[in-house]
């Protein structure tokens, strides 16, 4: 139960932050990516603002355990690899096309209108297909 309460608080803060920051406005996200057009640096402020409390939180995990028990995530893996790069390129292309990524796509469902539902449904379909795509990719050209 405690886990669920904290998950709701975390999700609520995330959703509120995405809304207030303007990151569910696709024109602001595409504006950030549009370096040759009317460039909009807002996203950098959002990223910087989000990284600050997270960096403090990571520092705080050292030598401690999560509040509700269990363990903190393992240290970040240093391995890069093909999937990280290829996946990020595909993601970036979709992000640029619609100006939406997974977090804001959920936060904007209630007020973005039908285009946001179309994007969200297609994203779920992509996530459903991803394990098969990944398996085919690994057989065709073994990663790492």
């Amino acid at each position: 139960m405690q886990r669920l309460v904290f998950a709701f608080i975390a999700g609520g803060l995330f959703g509120a932050g995405l809304f207030i920051s303007g990151m569910t406005d696709t024109s602001k996200v595409q504006g950030w990516l549009d370096v040759f057009g009317h460039w909009d640096p807002t996203l950098a402020f959002v990223m910087g603002g989000a990284i600050l409390p997270m960096a403090v939180a990571w520092a705080f995990t050292r030598g401690r355990k999560p509040l509700v028990g269990g363990d903190f995530p393992a240290p970040a893996e240093p391995k890069l690899g093909r999937n990280l790069v290829l996946g990020s390129v595909l993601f970036g292309a979709g992000w640029g096309l619609a100006g939406l990524c997974p977090g804001p796509s959920v936060a904007s469902l209630s007020y973005g209108g039908w285009p946001h539902w179309v994007f969200f449904a297609a994203m779920l379909a992509g996530m459903f297909a991803a394990p098969k795509v990944r398996a085919r990719l690994d057989t065709a050209v073994p990663a790492e």
């Binding site: 990284i51 409390p53 999937n83 990280l84 993601f91 979709g94 992000w95 619609a98 990524c101």
Partner: protein, 145 residues
């Protein structure tokens, strides 16, 4: 001096701090990395079955809070395209790409960079570059978006 700072940047910073605080709560309380694509993807492909309740409740929070605070806020438009082909292609690319890369803007970007993860930084460089090139190609050259 202060009035020279665009109000959008200030809202961006405040919103960003809230996003990071959400990530900090998820990490320090539940021991989890707040990555939207991982939380959603684990539900969709079944890999996160053991923690599905936590994932669903998190997503309800993300969905619900904008509804609650929207009446307090200035009028808001999302300016999303109404081109269905673009929306579907973009959604598929975001869904497949984030799952193959194992993270998106929140997981690799916010949570990864803040722990100085090389993977997070490399992913962020590549998705921003790909996004930039896509906007240049589809907006300025092809005129589709």
């Amino acid at each position: 001096m202060l009035e020279m700072i665009p109000v959008d940047w200030v809202w961006g910073l405040i919103g960003g701090l809230l996003i990071g605080t959400g990530g900090a709560v998820f990490l320090l309380a539940n021991g989890r990395i707040m990555g939207a694509s991982g939380i959603i993807g684990g539900l969709v492909d079944g890999s996160g079955r053991n923690s599905s309740a936590e994932r669903i409740v998190f997503l309800i929070g993300v969905f619900l809070l904008p509804i609650l605070i929207k009446p307090l806020y200035r009028p808001f438009e999302t300016h999303a395209t109404t081109n269905i082909a673009v929306l579907v292609a973009a959604g598929l690319l975001v869904g497949i790409g984030t799952r193959i890369a194992n993270g998106c803007t929140s997981g690799h970007g916010v949570c990864g960079i803040s722990r100085l993860s090389l993977r997070g930084m490399v992913a962020t460089v590549f998705y921003i570059m790909a996004g930039g090139l896509t906007v240049v190609l589809f907006r300025h050259i092809l005129g589709v978006i």
